[in-house]
């Protein structure tokens, strides 16, 4: 069947901001879908509120709407664009939910828009647990015992049947939000209550626990002729009970016989047919009882997912791309396999390697949170790796995480010693093996190092014996090598002969591990290894286990005999990617890398990508000329550089990951392009940078560096409190804190020095109540073009990655803008920036201070590019490959751009219920949204809606001000809300302050003053906005509870006056009701005509 001709225009729904459980994978799927539909000749309209994505690049769709993904805004787009169909299966749960809402409100019917890729009926059947259970029963599938409850009392009845532990899954939430495992009645009651709240329909599924069972997943595709194929099987190393997103997973399945696998495949085919997914991909999860093989169906997603991104990268079968083609009417046999270009896509990939995915958690950002893993996903990113064995792939994946680990153990001196452990260590270890946490895999290492039996480890951890034994092989080889090295004494490294070296490398050991095991340096290991002729070869990911020829240059390294990646003689540049997502480094940097790739290809270079994040657009083999799916460590990058001999390597697009390697790569003679490592160092080394600013006469807050507590106190006394303290070289404000007093400074120092006594702590005078700015620019060392100037809404002290910001600045004196531009240009020249540049400024008491300079891609580059229409990373790439800025047609930033763009951050607090929700200098947001409109008020309303904090038009505002916020400005804000008809609620002190300023406030009780308190009122939905400015370092207990409660009940919660003030304008705009949806293309057209 050929493609549908009854459609002309298709609306694709994106997934919105990056949140835990929904990340870059939907940029990958959405971008592929848009590209395919465009190639097929359809007009493509896209909505996504996330500006950091490649899919919202204005070249991807014909009309790109960076607007809130709500039925209201989608209706405006439908009304304007009149699409014939909506493709809702590429944008995760957000897009599916939007499609259902559009249907329920009759919008689809009103405009005659069809859904393609999935139907409302099949979405309901798959997502509504009740319908799903009924469907599974119809086709004879085994399911866990249990049922639905909508009240606590029903819940208590059903648990009598299931027993404990019991699984709680709220209906219609994504990433398992609000779910959990309860082991006792008390815990059960708590989870039941929060689950009932988290579920938009107030319903929770309570199910028999299958904790400890084996977990599998199949990626399935079906076309409208009812052809079905399985793209990939995935086996979880972690047992049932740990969310798949938090599990280490392996493709293909390792421990199923063919009969078991085919039984699962038969079930998957029956399920996708019964659910009725007519065109596209789905993933289906199964649990298997390891004792008797009982197989039960866990769930099914009738759309592309994180797993399908993983499966696509793991097999080379592009699920989203094929799904988009199926959605417009092609059948699988009509589509060619992209990689072989000869065989049809209607087949099941066979792979001849092992793929391991390892999640990455950022628990250190949420210190109060519980690091144990359960049915609610907590990881923020993942790394994937290829190897010819599980051992090799696991070790590569672990070093890809960049969390200071270089493989499966043996990566710290204390892990490279021999001998039996004291009994005191074994008991806690056994305990740790029982509980799954973010470090479980290293507990397994300890267990194997201490030679616990496989039976015992399995009994405690439920890891399958096969995985345990594979890991044991790594450990035993490691221990043997250490033993031999110890006997060899001084010649430890030389004790590793050629065959042993080859064996070690094929087990995935990194040079860094070998250095620690033999007491030498990584570089010496590298030299020894290459002298022995042990260098990696690059194999091809080809979907067919080499059965057919393939030209697709998608490679991974291994230590085999034959190399398949033949470097070309073209001019070529390697771009180093940003690795796994983490807080502070995510999709923004992938956007920059991909823009870099596009620019290089335009310029006639061969663009080679190195990255290990399976979610991203950058690791789509379609994006680059050549893709190496490899860890971003010095060793792995050098191997590729030695193999490819590129003309240039870009380290400034992928965030801190490649930047950390810059100096070592340069020392090794790698031709880095862009700002030199010398320039990067000049900007990052505070001493040198301070001297530079002195020379240029540019002010910065007074500062110092300290290696001792007293030294720190002396500095603070000299520069004045409050002070901002942090370790040197950080991204995302890790371990950053503002200290108002000596005691807190001392405790910070003691803690920091305990962790690493060699790392100096930076101490800056903190500019209180200053307004912060971000400037993104491109420079060639001579000319500098300003890409955008953003004003932060929150005062200085909130990390720039968490702060909302406005482009252009909204209440800043022209002379300050001019000063910032002047400083930017002078610093760019002084540092000799070639490429991107980001500078943070603060204005306090009419003085512009420089806070920091980053001569690299910043987190705001995509936001600025979308807001202004200038693709900064693209321009930077041209500059970095030698074109003078003067020769590039690039429009500089203008203040009078007749629109306002606001970036707002999105936080994962609902996933970490015990975490402080107050913003500070440590970045904790996972993603961002953009609101863009002609006025500030309208833009902020959009950004709030997109971030999930829609503002109310009327109601009650609760205000609680810190002593030092009891100012005229605060009173003015309160009056503003009162003038709009809001009822003002306030606790004692704030109420009397407001009364003194002629603002009537109804007094309410604080949490500890009695009931009903403000907490009860928030919970009862009687409060519609909370303004609570906390004082100093630690939020008081009642403030903490208030934050939690507001969050839980989705009440907008402002912790700064600036944010409360900005929202006031938003509420006025809501009252005016003049919202429209405007595409980027239309925004830019207005500007060009201006």
């Amino acid at each position: 069947m050929p493609r549908r001709t009854d459609l002309q225009c298709i609306l694709v729904i994106g997934s919105g901001p990056i949140v835990i459980g929904q990340a870059c994978e939907f940029d990958y799927s959405g971008t592929q879908a848009c590209k395919v539909l465009r190639e097929e000749g359809y007009r493509v309209v896209l909505i996504n509120s996330n500006p950091a994505t490649i899919m919202t690049d204005p070249d991807v769709a014909h009309a790109t709407y960076i607007e809130p993904i709500t039925p209201e805004f989608i209706e405006k787009i439908i009304e304007k664009e009149r699409p014939d169909a909506i493709l809702p299966t590429m944008g995760g749960q957000v897009a599916l939910n939007a499609a259902v809402a559009l249907h329920d409100r009759g919008i689809l019917a009103k405009y005659g828009v069809r859904l393609i890729g999935s139907s409302i009926e099949s979405i309901h059947k798959a997502e509504d647990r009740e319908q799903f259970l009924a469907a599974m029963q119809r086709i004879g599938m085994d399911m866990p015992r249990g049922g639905f409850v909508t009240s606590e009392s029903d819940g208590l009845a059903i648990v009598e049947e299931t027993g404990f532990p019991v699984i709680i899954r709220p209906s219609f939430t994504m990433g398992g939000t609000g779910g959990g495992i309860a082991y006792n009645v008390e815990e059960y009651r708590t989870m039941l209550r929060s689950g009932l709240v988290a579920s938009p329909i107030g319903r929770v599924l309570v199910e028999e626990s299958v904790i400890g069972w084996k977990e599998f997943e199949l990626e399935v595709m079906r076309d409208r002729a009812d052809n079905v194929v399985i793209v990939c099987s995935i086996e979880n190393v972690d047992p049932m009970g740990v969310h798949t997103g938090d599990s280490i997973t392996v493709a293909p399945a390792q421990t199923l016989t063919d009969r078991e696998y085919q039984r699962m495949r038969d079930a998957a085919l029956a399920i996708i047919r019964e659910i009725g997914v007519e065109t596209g991909g789905s993933n289906i999860q199964f649990a298997l009882n390891p004792a008797n093989g009982r197989m039960i169906v866990i769930e099914m997603n009738p759309r592309v997912s994180r797993s399908s991104a993983l499966a696509s990268k793991a097999t080379g079968f592009p699920i989203a791309k094929i799904a988009a083609k199926l959605a417009v009417g092609y059948t699988l046999d009509e589509i060619l396999n992209d990689i072989t270009k000869k065989t049809p896509a209607c087949f099941e990939p066979s792979i001849d390697y092992v793929v391991v995915k390892v999640p990455r958690w950022d628990f250190e950002k949420f210190r109060e949170s519980d690091t144990s893993l359960g049915v609610q996903m907590k990881s923020v990113g993942e790394a994937m790796s290829f190897g010819r064995t599980f051992k090799e792939a696991l070790q590569k994946a672990l070093r890809s995480l960049e969390q200071g680990r270089y493989g499966f153990g043996f990566d710290k001196a204390e892990l490279c010693v021999l001998g039996t452990p004291p009994d005191t260590e074994l008991a806690p270890l056994r305990q740790r093996l029982r509980t799954h946490t973010s470090t479980s895999i290293f507990d397994l290492f300890d267990a194997l190092r201490y030679r616990l039996t496989t039976e015992e480890i399995h009994r405690l951890s439920k890891y399958d014996p096969w995985f345990i034994e594979q890991c044991r092989e790594i450990v035993e080889l490691g221990l043997a090598v250490i033993e031999r090295a110890r006997q060899a004494g001084k010649d430890a490294l030389e004790s590793i002969d050629g065959p042993t070296m080859r064996r070690l490398k094929s087990y995935g050991f990194s040079d860094q591990q070998l250095a620690l095991m033999t007491g030498t340096s990584e570089l010496r290991v590298r030299t020894r290894r290459t002298t022995l002729g042990v260098i990696p070869v690059y194999k091809t990911v080809d979907t067919c286990a080499a059965e057919f020829e393939s030209e697709t240059p998608y490679h991974y390294s291994t230590y085999g005999a034959e190399n398949e990646s033949v470097p070309s003689t073209n001019r070529k540049v390697i771009i180093l990617g940003s690795g796994p997502n983490r807080i502070g480094q995510g999709i923004e940097f992938d956007y920059c890398c991909v823009q870099g790739v596009f620019a290089l290809r335009n310029l006639g270079y061969e663009a080679i990508m190195v990255n290990c994040n399976p979610e991203t657009v950058s690791t789509d083999y379609d994006t680059t000329n050549r893709l190496y799916f490899e860890p971003l460590t010095f060793e792995d990058v050098m191997n590729i550089v030695d193999h490819e001999r590129p003309d240039g390597v870009v380290v400034t697009f992928g965030g801190q990951t490649p930047l950390k390697l810059a100096q070592r790569l340069a020392d090794a003679g790698v031709p880095l392009i862009g700002t030199s490592p010398e320039g990067i160092d000049l900007a990052e080394d505070r001493k040198r940078f301070g001297e530079l600013l002195d020379r240029l006469g540019i002010p910065c807050p007074p500062w110092g560096t300290a290696l001792a507590e007293d030294e720190a106190v002396d500095i603070a006394n000299r520069i004045g409190y409050p002070v901002l303290v942090r370790p040197s070289y950080v991204l995302g404000g890790r371990a950053m804190q503002i200290c108002y007093r000596e005691e807190s400074l001392r405790s910070y120092m003691a803690n920091a020095l305990a962790q690493d006594p060699t790392r100096a702590v930076l101490i800056d005078h903190f500019l209180e109540n200053a307004v912060e700015y971000d400037v993104d620019a491109v420079s060639d060392g001579v000319t500098t073009v300003i890409g955008g100037i953003m004003q932060h809404i929150e005062e200085a002290g909130v990390h720039s990655g968490d702060s909302s910001c406005v482009l252009p600045p909204y209440n800043t004196a022209d002379r300050h803008i001019a000063t910032m531009i002047d400083y930017t240009e002078r610093m760019a020249k002084a540092i000799n920036v070639v490429g991107l540049l980001n500078i943070q400024y603060a204005i306090q008491h009419d003085t512009v201070y420089v806070l920091e300079v980053n001569p690299r891609a910043s987190r705001t580059v995509p936001f600025v590019s979308k807001a202004t229409g200038t693709k900064l990373a693209h321009v930077a790439t041209q500059v970095m490959t030698g074109t003078a800025l003067a020769d590039i047609d690039v429009e500089p930033f203008r203040l009078d751009m007749n629109r306002v763009a606001i970036k707002e951050s999105v936080f994962p607090f609902t996933k970490f219920p015990r975490v402080n929700v107050f913003l500070g200098p440590e970045m904790r947001s996972t993603g961002e949204v953009m609101g863009m409109d002609s006025t500030f008020g309208r833009a902020i309303v959009k950004s709030h809606i997109s971030a999930g904090n829609g503002l109310p038009a009327r109601g009650s505002v609760f205000i609680s001000l810190s002593t030092h916020d009891k100012t005229d400005r605060a009173a003015g804000i309160a009056r503003g809300y009162a003038d709009l008809g809001f009822t003002i609620l306030a606790t004692g002190g704030t109420a009397s302050f407001l009364r003194d300023h002629n603002v009537t406030a109804q007094p309410v009780l604080k949490h500890y003053e009695g009931r009903p308190s403000i907490i009860d009122q928030i919970a009862n939905g009687e409060v519609h906005i909370v303004i609570n400015t906390p004082l100093g370092e630690n939020a008081r207990y009642d403030e903490f509870i208030m934050g939690q409660t507001a969050l839980k009940h989705k009440v907008p919660f402002f912790t700064t006056l600036a944010a409360a003030e900005a929202s006031l304008q938003g509420i006025i705009a809501i009252r005016e009701q003049q919202f429209s949806a405007t595409s980027l293309q239309d925004h830019y057209a207005v500007r060009n005509g201006h």
Partner: protein, 378 residues
């Protein structure tokens, strides 16, 4: 475990070094082929169609789930040897009785691990299946081993069915229905079928039984008279090893039976059916061995993902009038199924009994039963 060093030597002179697996010290010779299925090594090595062949598994970990008593396609290991990237010493599966290593040892079958199997596959895919030898000693020189590999009889013209067929006529007593699937997992026995054993896989017997057939197995040398004397409702021509053109008795028997009663052939049986109507077969460069081959059913247009294991194929251009090509392999367009409607006979090149592989094509057994039903009613 320290294993002996091993060498795999191909007739083209290539030498691969690795470690010995399976029965130590054994010299294995045969035609080197590769299989791309990611599961099902136990079924593969016990499949009589692999007689005379050494199987390279493209999936790099083999042996993970061990070996159990039931997932066998015959009473012993049939492959002449195996080549793997890494043999798993650990076994993890609730049904497993023993490890693949022990199973190979007990069967006296040797092999090699530690080979860059992907490189090997790329050689076989471009140069074709090759004769080879695997040794577990360093005594012979590489040159001597190349000569040894070249002395292995070529598959072309080789009738291997006598090596794997049954000696006696027996009634299939089929166990193991707990793994039944499809809509006819436990049908009552309604039809008498004689299966000619050219190297029959047990799962064919299981599937025939599941679809209601009472099966009697006869040796490859059975004549039409032998078969008809059993008064069957239909005859099944089984899979098997070697060159179909060399199976002269089977072809003659099929010729005699054609048109008398329903015939269904799988793999070698399908090729024999084609040869019986005068078509020819030819050797493919490297064959089809795996569990992911797409086949189009030309009558319905539907695609089946199939299990395949064949080195020869029917030349569709030589099929006489009255023979319909019912199935085509989508990867290379080769003939994957034929039907001779007016003689109530059909065959498929691939394996609807799966084992290992997908169950998409199980309907063919139903069609065979329907054919017997139809003929019986007429």
């Amino acid at each position: 475990m320290t294993s002996l060093p091993a060498r795999l030597v191909l007739e083209n002179g290539m030498v691969f070094h690795g470690a010995a697996i399976g029965a130590q010290g054994v010299v294995s010779t045969g035609e080197l082929v590769f299989n791309t299925a990611m599961t099902g090594y136990q079924e593969v090595i016990t499949d009589p169609s692999y007689c005379g062949q050494i199987v390279t598994f493209t999936y790099p970990h083999i042996g993970n789930y061990g070996v159990n008593e039931r997932d066998v396609e015959s009473g012993r290991i049939q492959a002449a040897g195996i080549v793997v990237h890494e043999l798993s010493r650990t076994v993890s599966n609730w049904r497993s009785n023993t490890s693949l290593q022990s199973y190979l040892e007990e069967g006296g079958i040797g092999g090699i691990e530690g080979v860059d199997t992907r490189q090997l596959v790329r050689v076989l895919r471009s140069q074709g299946s090759m004769r080879c030898v695997i040794v577990h000693s360093s005594e012979a020189t590489d040159e001597e081993l190349v000569a040894h590999a070249r002395s292995v009889p070529s598959m072309t013209g080789l009738d291997l069915t006598s090596r794997v067929t049954t000696d006696t006529v027996y009634r299939a007593d089929v166990e193991n229905q707990e793994w039944g699937y499809g809509d006819a997992a436990t049908a009552a026995k309604r039809f008498r079928v004689v299966a000619v054993d050219f190297g029959i896989k047990r799962n064919i017997l299981r599937r025939l039984a599941a679809h209601g057939c009472d099966v009697t197995v006869v040796p490859a040398g059975a004549t039409a008279q032998d078969i008809l004397s059993l008064q069957p409702d239909g005859v099944f021509l089984s899979n098997g090893p070697g060159d179909p053109a060399a199976v002269t008795q089977g072809i003659a028997t099929t010729k005699d039976l054609l048109g008398q009663l329903p015939l269904f052939g799988i793999c070698l049986g399908h090729q024999i059916l084609a040869l019986a109507v005068g078509a020819t077969t030819y050797k493919l460069v490297f064959g089809h061995r795996g569990a992911n081959h797409p086949v189009r059913n030309m009558r319905t247009g539907a695609i089946e993902i199939t299990s395949q294991n064949h080195g020869f194929a029917v030349d569709a251009s030589t099929l006489p009038d009255g023979v319909e090509v019912t199935h085509v392999n989508l990867n290379d367009g080769t003939c994957a199924g034929i039907a001779i409607p007016d003689k109530t006979a059909f065959g498929v090149q691939y394996h609807p009994e799966a084992s290992p592989g997908p169950h998409d094509s199980d309907y063919l057994f139903r069609e065979f039963v329907a054919m017997m039903e139809h003929v019986g009613a007429a």
